[in-house]
Protein backbone atom coordinates (compact mmCIF):
# COMPACT_ATOMS: atom_id res chain seq x y z
CA UNK A 1 0.00 0.00 0.00
CA UNK A 2 1.22 3.50 -0.83
CA UNK A 3 2.65 4.93 2.41
CA UNK A 4 0.77 8.22 2.00
CA UNK A 5 -2.42 6.28 2.54
CA UNK A 6 -0.96 4.86 5.73
CA UNK A 7 -0.73 8.44 6.98
CA UNK A 8 -4.47 8.77 6.50
CA UNK A 9 -4.91 5.60 8.51
CA UNK A 10 -2.64 6.91 11.25
CA UNK A 11 -4.64 10.13 11.47
CA UNK A 12 -7.95 8.29 11.48
CA UNK A 13 -6.83 5.92 14.23
CA UNK A 14 -5.39 8.75 16.31
CA UNK A 15 -8.72 10.55 15.96
CA UNK A 16 -10.85 7.54 16.75
CA UNK A 17 -8.79 6.75 19.82
CA UNK A 18 -9.04 10.38 20.87
CA UNK A 19 -5.33 11.17 20.80
CA UNK A 20 -4.48 14.80 21.48
CA UNK A 21 -2.75 14.90 18.10
CA UNK A 22 -3.96 18.03 16.26
CA UNK A 23 -2.74 19.78 13.17
CA UNK A 24 -2.90 23.58 13.58
CA UNK A 25 -5.28 25.14 11.02
CA UNK A 26 -2.38 27.28 9.76
CA UNK A 27 -0.44 24.14 8.86
CA UNK A 28 -3.46 22.64 7.14
CA UNK A 29 -3.75 25.83 5.11
CA UNK A 30 -0.07 25.79 4.18
CA UNK A 31 -0.19 22.16 3.09
CA UNK A 32 -3.31 22.55 1.00
CA UNK A 33 -1.91 25.71 -0.56
CA UNK A 34 1.24 23.87 -1.60
CA UNK A 35 -0.75 20.91 -2.93
CA UNK A 36 -3.04 23.08 -5.02
CA UNK A 37 -0.17 25.12 -6.44
CA UNK A 38 1.82 21.95 -7.18
CA UNK A 39 -1.04 20.37 -9.09
CA UNK A 40 -1.60 23.57 -11.03
CA UNK A 41 2.09 24.15 -11.78
CA UNK A 42 2.62 20.59 -12.97
CA UNK A 43 -0.34 20.85 -15.28
CA UNK A 44 0.73 24.24 -16.59
CA UNK A 45 4.23 23.05 -17.38
CA UNK A 46 2.85 20.08 -19.27
CA UNK A 47 0.31 22.17 -21.12
CA UNK A 48 3.05 24.56 -22.21
CA UNK A 49 4.57 21.73 -24.19
CA UNK A 50 1.40 20.76 -26.02
CA UNK A 51 -0.86 22.58 -28.40
CA UNK A 52 -3.96 23.70 -26.58
CA UNK A 53 -6.12 24.16 -29.64
CA UNK A 54 -7.58 20.68 -29.54
CA UNK A 55 -8.78 21.04 -25.96
CA UNK A 56 -11.93 23.05 -26.60
CA UNK A 57 -14.20 20.04 -27.25
CA UNK A 58 -12.76 18.23 -24.21
CA UNK A 59 -13.43 21.30 -22.07
CA UNK A 60 -17.03 21.30 -23.25
CA UNK A 61 -17.47 17.64 -22.41
CA UNK A 62 -15.95 17.99 -18.96
CA UNK A 63 -18.18 20.96 -18.17
CA UNK A 64 -21.14 18.91 -19.34
CA UNK A 65 -20.12 16.17 -16.94
CA UNK A 66 -20.05 18.71 -14.12
CA UNK A 67 -23.52 19.98 -14.94
CA UNK A 68 -25.01 16.54 -15.43
CA UNK A 69 -23.83 14.64 -12.36
CA UNK A 70 -25.89 16.60 -9.80
CA UNK A 71 -28.96 16.27 -12.00
CA UNK A 72 -28.59 12.50 -11.75
CA UNK A 73 -27.72 12.36 -8.06
CA UNK A 74 -30.44 14.74 -6.90
CA UNK A 75 -33.53 12.66 -7.80
CA UNK A 76 -31.85 9.56 -6.43
CA UNK A 77 -31.19 11.08 -3.04
CA UNK A 78 -34.47 12.99 -3.00
CA UNK A 79 -36.84 10.21 -3.99
CA UNK A 80 -35.02 6.95 -3.37
CA UNK A 81 -33.22 8.26 -0.28
CA UNK A 82 -36.28 10.29 0.79
CA UNK A 83 -34.20 13.26 1.86
CA UNK A 84 -35.50 16.84 2.11
CA UNK A 85 -34.95 18.90 -1.03
CA UNK A 86 -32.19 21.07 0.47
CA UNK A 87 -30.15 18.11 1.65
CA UNK A 88 -30.60 16.22 -1.60
CA UNK A 89 -29.47 19.26 -3.58
CA UNK A 90 -26.47 19.81 -1.33
CA UNK A 91 -25.35 16.19 -1.58
CA UNK A 92 -25.78 16.33 -5.36
CA UNK A 93 -23.56 19.42 -5.49
CA UNK A 94 -20.90 17.76 -3.33
CA UNK A 95 -20.69 14.65 -5.51
CA UNK A 96 -20.83 16.62 -8.73
CA UNK A 97 -17.90 18.75 -7.66
CA UNK A 98 -14.44 17.30 -6.94
CA UNK A 99 -11.99 16.58 -4.14
CA UNK A 100 -8.46 17.82 -4.79
CA UNK A 101 -7.06 15.55 -2.08
CA UNK A 102 -8.48 12.48 -3.80
CA UNK A 103 -7.04 13.70 -7.08
CA UNK A 104 -3.63 14.15 -5.44
CA UNK A 105 -3.71 10.60 -4.09
CA UNK A 106 -4.63 9.46 -7.60
CA UNK A 107 -1.61 11.29 -8.99
CA UNK A 108 0.62 9.73 -6.35
CA UNK A 109 -0.84 6.33 -7.18
CA UNK A 110 -0.10 6.73 -10.88
CA UNK A 111 3.42 7.91 -10.08
CA UNK A 112 4.09 4.80 -8.05
CA UNK A 113 2.76 2.76 -11.02
CA UNK A 114 5.02 4.79 -13.32
CA UNK A 115 1.94 5.62 -15.35
CA UNK A 116 1.91 9.03 -17.03
CA UNK A 117 -1.30 10.99 -17.64
CA UNK A 118 -2.48 13.68 -20.05
CA UNK A 119 -1.38 17.22 -19.18
CA UNK A 120 -4.84 18.76 -19.24
CA UNK A 121 -6.09 16.88 -16.17
CA UNK A 122 -5.33 19.71 -13.70
CA UNK A 123 -7.40 21.95 -15.93
CA UNK A 124 -10.26 19.49 -15.61
CA UNK A 125 -10.01 19.73 -11.82
CA UNK A 126 -10.74 23.44 -12.10
CA UNK A 127 -13.50 22.92 -14.66
CA UNK A 128 -15.29 20.33 -12.55
CA UNK A 129 -15.21 22.28 -9.33
CA UNK A 130 -17.87 24.86 -10.09
CA UNK A 131 -20.74 23.69 -12.33
CA UNK A 132 -22.20 21.15 -9.90
CA UNK A 133 -22.31 23.73 -7.15
CA UNK A 134 -24.36 26.07 -9.32
CA UNK A 135 -26.73 23.29 -10.33
CA UNK A 136 -27.05 22.25 -6.70
CA UNK A 137 -28.08 25.74 -5.68
CA UNK A 138 -30.66 25.89 -8.45
CA UNK A 139 -32.01 22.49 -7.44
CA UNK A 140 -32.36 23.58 -3.84
CA UNK A 141 -34.13 26.79 -4.69
CA UNK A 142 -36.38 25.21 -7.26
CA UNK A 143 -35.40 27.48 -10.12
CA UNK A 144 -37.57 30.30 -8.76
CA UNK A 145 -35.97 33.71 -9.15
CA UNK A 146 -34.66 35.79 -6.29
CA UNK A 147 -31.21 34.31 -6.02
CA UNK A 148 -28.55 37.06 -5.90
CA UNK A 149 -26.15 35.28 -8.25
CA UNK A 150 -23.61 38.08 -8.34
CA UNK A 151 -22.04 37.67 -4.90
CA UNK A 152 -22.59 33.90 -4.98
CA UNK A 153 -20.78 33.48 -8.29
CA UNK A 154 -18.00 35.69 -7.01
CA UNK A 155 -17.63 33.58 -3.89
CA UNK A 156 -17.58 30.35 -5.87
CA UNK A 157 -15.22 31.45 -8.62
CA UNK A 158 -12.85 33.36 -6.36
CA UNK A 159 -12.69 30.56 -3.81
CA UNK A 160 -9.13 29.81 -2.79
CA UNK A 161 -8.91 26.36 -4.32
CA UNK A 162 -9.82 27.64 -7.77
CA UNK A 163 -7.54 30.67 -7.47
CA UNK A 164 -4.55 28.54 -6.49
CA UNK A 165 -5.17 25.76 -9.00
CA UNK A 166 -5.79 28.12 -11.88
CA UNK A 167 -3.05 30.48 -10.75
CA UNK A 168 -0.54 27.63 -10.57
CA UNK A 169 -1.67 26.42 -13.97
CA UNK A 170 -1.16 29.81 -15.57
CA UNK A 171 2.20 30.38 -13.88
CA UNK A 172 3.39 26.95 -15.00
CA UNK A 173 2.17 27.65 -18.50
CA UNK A 174 3.83 31.06 -18.75
CA UNK A 175 7.08 30.01 -17.06
CA UNK A 176 7.42 26.63 -18.78
CA UNK A 177 9.53 23.72 -17.61
CA UNK A 178 12.74 25.71 -17.46
CA UNK A 179 11.29 28.67 -15.61
CA UNK A 180 9.60 26.47 -13.02
CA UNK A 181 12.74 24.44 -12.42
CA UNK A 182 14.05 26.46 -9.43
CA UNK A 183 10.64 25.96 -7.80
CA UNK A 184 10.83 22.19 -8.12
CA UNK A 185 12.53 21.39 -4.81
CA UNK A 186 9.60 22.86 -2.90
CA UNK A 187 6.64 22.12 -5.14
CA UNK A 188 7.62 18.88 -6.87
CA UNK A 189 10.19 17.06 -4.73
CA UNK A 190 8.23 17.55 -1.51
CA UNK A 191 4.90 16.61 -3.12
CA UNK A 192 4.52 13.18 -1.57
CA UNK A 193 5.73 14.32 1.83
CA UNK A 194 3.32 17.22 1.84
CA UNK A 195 0.55 14.91 0.73
CA UNK A 196 1.42 12.51 3.56
CA UNK A 197 1.11 15.24 6.19
CA UNK A 198 -2.08 16.47 4.57
CA UNK A 199 -3.59 12.98 4.63
CA UNK A 200 -2.68 12.67 8.31
CA UNK A 201 -4.92 15.65 8.95
CA UNK A 202 -7.59 14.30 6.62
CA UNK A 203 -7.59 11.17 8.74
CA UNK A 204 -8.08 13.23 11.88
CA UNK A 205 -10.94 15.13 10.24
CA UNK A 206 -12.53 11.96 8.92
CA UNK A 207 -12.44 10.50 12.43
CA UNK A 208 -14.12 13.59 13.83
CA UNK A 209 -17.11 12.81 11.59
CA UNK A 210 -17.65 9.58 13.46
CA UNK A 211 -20.38 11.06 15.66
CA UNK A 212 -22.54 12.03 12.68
CA UNK A 213 -21.86 8.62 11.24
CA UNK A 214 -23.24 7.00 14.36
CA UNK A 215 -26.56 8.81 13.95
CA UNK A 216 -27.04 8.58 10.20
CA UNK A 217 -24.77 5.64 9.66
CA UNK A 218 -26.46 3.32 7.25
CA UNK A 219 -27.75 5.99 4.94
CA UNK A 220 -24.41 7.81 4.75
CA UNK A 221 -22.40 4.66 4.22
CA UNK A 222 -24.70 3.49 1.46
CA UNK A 223 -24.54 6.89 -0.15
CA UNK A 224 -20.82 7.29 0.26
CA UNK A 225 -19.93 3.90 -1.10
CA UNK A 226 -22.54 3.39 -3.78
CA UNK A 227 -22.36 6.73 -5.56
CA UNK A 228 -18.63 6.91 -6.41
CA UNK A 229 -18.26 3.76 -8.49
CA UNK A 230 -20.94 4.44 -11.12
CA UNK A 231 -19.88 8.09 -11.33
CA UNK A 232 -16.23 7.10 -11.73
CA UNK A 233 -17.16 4.57 -14.38
CA UNK A 234 -19.03 7.24 -16.29
CA UNK A 235 -16.01 9.52 -15.93
CA UNK A 236 -13.68 6.77 -17.16
CA UNK A 237 -15.88 6.11 -20.15
CA UNK A 238 -15.99 9.82 -21.00
CA UNK A 239 -12.22 10.05 -20.68
CA UNK A 240 -11.79 7.09 -22.96
CA UNK A 241 -14.16 8.61 -25.51
CA UNK A 242 -12.10 11.81 -25.42
CA UNK A 243 -8.98 9.83 -26.18
CA UNK A 244 -7.21 10.27 -22.85
CA UNK A 245 -4.45 7.80 -22.04
CA UNK A 246 -4.71 5.23 -19.26
CA UNK A 247 -3.51 7.68 -16.60
CA UNK A 248 -5.85 10.37 -17.86
CA UNK A 249 -8.83 8.03 -17.90
CA UNK A 250 -8.01 6.94 -14.35
CA UNK A 251 -7.82 10.52 -13.12
CA UNK A 252 -11.03 11.63 -14.82
CA UNK A 253 -12.68 8.64 -13.16
CA UNK A 254 -11.17 9.72 -9.84
CA UNK A 255 -12.51 13.23 -10.31
CA UNK A 256 -15.98 12.04 -11.26
CA UNK A 257 -16.11 9.65 -8.32
CA UNK A 258 -14.70 12.11 -5.80
CA UNK A 259 -16.76 14.32 -3.55
CA UNK A 260 -15.98 17.96 -2.74
CA UNK A 261 -15.11 18.91 0.84
CA UNK A 262 -13.90 22.51 0.44
CA UNK A 263 -15.69 24.46 -2.28
CA UNK A 264 -19.09 22.77 -2.10
CA UNK A 265 -19.52 22.88 1.70
CA UNK A 266 -18.56 26.55 1.81
CA UNK A 267 -20.92 27.51 -0.99
CA UNK A 268 -23.85 25.39 0.17
CA UNK A 269 -23.62 26.67 3.75
CA UNK A 270 -24.26 30.18 2.49
CA UNK A 271 -26.51 29.53 -0.48
CA UNK A 272 -28.58 26.63 0.89
CA UNK A 273 -28.48 27.11 4.66
CA UNK A 274 -31.37 24.75 5.26
CA UNK A 275 -29.20 21.79 4.23
CA UNK A 276 -27.58 20.01 7.16
CA UNK A 277 -23.85 20.55 6.59
CA UNK A 278 -22.88 17.58 8.74
CA UNK A 279 -24.63 15.10 6.44
CA UNK A 280 -22.83 15.94 3.21
CA UNK A 281 -19.50 16.57 4.90
CA UNK A 282 -19.58 13.23 6.66
CA UNK A 283 -20.56 11.41 3.49
CA UNK A 284 -17.70 13.14 1.71
CA UNK A 285 -14.88 12.98 4.27
CA UNK A 286 -15.96 10.12 6.46
CA UNK A 287 -17.05 7.63 3.79
CA UNK A 288 -16.33 8.49 0.16
CA UNK A 289 -12.84 9.87 0.65
CA UNK A 290 -11.46 6.80 2.46
CA UNK A 291 -13.40 4.53 0.12
CA UNK A 292 -11.83 6.20 -2.89
CA UNK A 293 -8.24 6.25 -1.67
CA UNK A 294 -8.27 2.66 -0.39
CA UNK A 295 -10.46 0.88 -2.92
CA UNK A 296 -11.68 3.31 -5.54
CA UNK A 297 -8.46 4.47 -7.14
CA UNK A 298 -7.02 1.00 -7.79
CA UNK A 299 -10.41 -0.04 -9.17
CA UNK A 300 -10.67 2.97 -11.47
CA UNK A 301 -7.18 2.20 -12.69
CA UNK A 302 -8.35 -1.31 -13.56
CA UNK A 303 -11.30 0.12 -15.43
CA UNK A 304 -9.03 2.49 -17.33
CA UNK A 305 -6.74 -0.34 -18.32
CA UNK A 306 -9.69 -2.49 -19.33
CA UNK A 307 -11.11 0.31 -21.47
CA UNK A 308 -7.75 0.59 -23.16
CA UNK A 309 -7.80 -3.12 -23.76
CA UNK A 310 -4.83 -3.81 -21.54
Amino acid sequence: MDPVILFFLLGALAGLFKSDLRMPPAVYDLLSMVLLLTIGLKGGVELAEHSVGGLIPQIGLVLLLGFTVPLVIFPLVRFVGRMPRADAASIAAHYGSVSVATYAVGVAFLESQRQSFDPQLPLFVVLLEVPAIMVGILLARGFQGGTRWGPLAHEIFMGKSIVLLLGGLLIGWVAGAEGVQPLEPLFFDLFKGVLALFLLEMGLIAASQARTLRNHGLFLVLLGVMIPVPLATAGAWLGWMMGLNVGGVTLLAVLAGSCSYIAAPAAMRIAVPAANPALSLTASLGVTFPFNIFLGIPLYYQIAQWLHGQ
Partner: protein, 100 residues
Protein backbone atom coordinates in the same frame (compact mmCIF):
# COMPACT_ATOMS: atom_id res chain seq x y z
CA UNK B 1 -13.14 60.38 33.47
CA UNK B 2 -16.41 60.76 31.54
CA UNK B 3 -18.27 57.61 30.63
CA UNK B 4 -21.62 56.96 28.96
CA UNK B 5 -23.93 53.95 29.01
CA UNK B 6 -24.08 51.77 25.93
CA UNK B 7 -25.03 48.20 25.10
CA UNK B 8 -22.50 45.49 24.30
CA UNK B 9 -24.04 42.95 21.96
CA UNK B 10 -22.14 39.66 21.64
CA UNK B 11 -22.78 37.05 18.96
CA UNK B 12 -21.19 33.59 18.91
CA UNK B 13 -21.74 31.85 15.59
CA UNK B 14 -20.18 29.87 12.71
CA UNK B 15 -17.01 31.29 11.18
CA UNK B 16 -18.55 30.84 7.72
CA UNK B 17 -20.86 33.76 8.41
CA UNK B 18 -18.13 36.31 9.15
CA UNK B 19 -18.18 38.19 5.84
CA UNK B 20 -21.99 38.37 5.76
CA UNK B 21 -22.25 39.59 9.33
CA UNK B 22 -19.68 42.33 8.80
CA UNK B 23 -21.58 43.58 5.78
CA UNK B 24 -24.86 43.46 7.66
CA UNK B 25 -23.41 45.42 10.57
CA UNK B 26 -22.15 48.08 8.20
CA UNK B 27 -25.59 48.32 6.63
CA UNK B 28 -27.31 48.47 10.02
CA UNK B 29 -25.13 51.41 10.97
CA UNK B 30 -22.87 49.89 13.62
CA UNK B 31 -19.84 52.14 14.11
CA UNK B 32 -17.57 49.14 14.48
CA UNK B 33 -17.15 45.60 15.72
CA UNK B 34 -14.50 43.33 17.21
CA UNK B 35 -14.07 39.67 16.29
CA UNK B 36 -12.08 36.84 17.86
CA UNK B 37 -11.84 33.19 16.82
CA UNK B 38 -13.62 30.82 19.17
CA UNK B 39 -14.63 27.24 19.64
CA UNK B 40 -17.28 25.70 21.86
CA UNK B 41 -20.30 23.54 22.38
CA UNK B 42 -23.96 24.35 22.11
CA UNK B 43 -27.23 22.67 21.39
CA UNK B 44 -25.90 21.55 18.02
CA UNK B 45 -22.73 19.85 19.12
CA UNK B 46 -19.07 20.60 19.55
CA UNK B 47 -17.37 23.14 17.30
CA UNK B 48 -13.60 22.79 16.94
CA UNK B 49 -11.51 25.26 14.97
CA UNK B 50 -9.62 22.36 13.41
CA UNK B 51 -9.73 23.36 9.78
CA UNK B 52 -10.99 26.13 7.55
CA UNK B 53 -14.41 27.30 8.67
CA UNK B 54 -15.18 24.51 11.12
CA UNK B 55 -14.79 26.91 14.09
CA UNK B 56 -16.84 29.68 15.64
CA UNK B 57 -16.34 33.41 15.88
CA UNK B 58 -17.22 35.67 18.79
CA UNK B 59 -18.31 39.11 17.58
CA UNK B 60 -18.88 42.17 19.73
CA UNK B 61 -20.66 45.39 18.84
CA UNK B 62 -21.01 48.40 21.07
CA UNK B 63 -23.96 50.63 20.25
CA UNK B 64 -27.00 52.25 21.80
CA UNK B 65 -30.01 50.30 22.94
CA UNK B 66 -32.19 50.73 19.85
CA UNK B 67 -29.47 49.74 17.46
CA UNK B 68 -28.69 46.69 19.59
CA UNK B 69 -32.33 45.64 19.38
CA UNK B 70 -32.31 46.22 15.65
CA UNK B 71 -29.20 44.15 15.10
CA UNK B 72 -30.41 41.35 17.35
CA UNK B 73 -33.75 41.23 15.56
CA UNK B 74 -32.09 41.20 12.16
CA UNK B 75 -29.78 38.34 13.12
CA UNK B 76 -32.56 36.39 14.78
CA UNK B 77 -34.80 36.59 11.74
CA UNK B 78 -32.07 35.75 9.31
CA UNK B 79 -29.94 33.16 11.00
CA UNK B 80 -31.50 31.53 14.06
CA UNK B 81 -33.26 28.81 12.08
CA UNK B 82 -30.38 27.47 10.08
CA UNK B 83 -27.18 28.51 11.80
CA UNK B 84 -25.49 27.90 15.11
CA UNK B 85 -25.84 31.23 16.89
CA UNK B 86 -26.29 32.71 20.32
CA UNK B 87 -26.76 36.39 21.14
CA UNK B 88 -26.47 38.17 24.44
CA UNK B 89 -26.46 41.78 25.50
CA UNK B 90 -24.96 43.56 28.50
CA UNK B 91 -24.46 47.07 29.85
CA UNK B 92 -21.15 48.84 29.49
CA UNK B 93 -19.78 52.29 30.19
CA UNK B 94 -17.79 53.66 27.27
CA UNK B 95 -15.25 56.43 26.92
CA UNK B 96 -15.74 58.76 23.95
CA UNK B 97 -19.47 58.27 23.53
CA UNK B 98 -19.43 59.85 20.06
CA UNK B 99 -17.65 56.75 18.74
CA UNK B 100 -20.59 54.42 19.39
Amino acid sequence: MDTTSRKLLTVVTEAALEARLCEALDDLGATGYTIVNARGRGSRGVRQADWSTSGNIRLEVICDEERAAEIATYLRDRYFDNFLMIIYISDVQVLREDKF
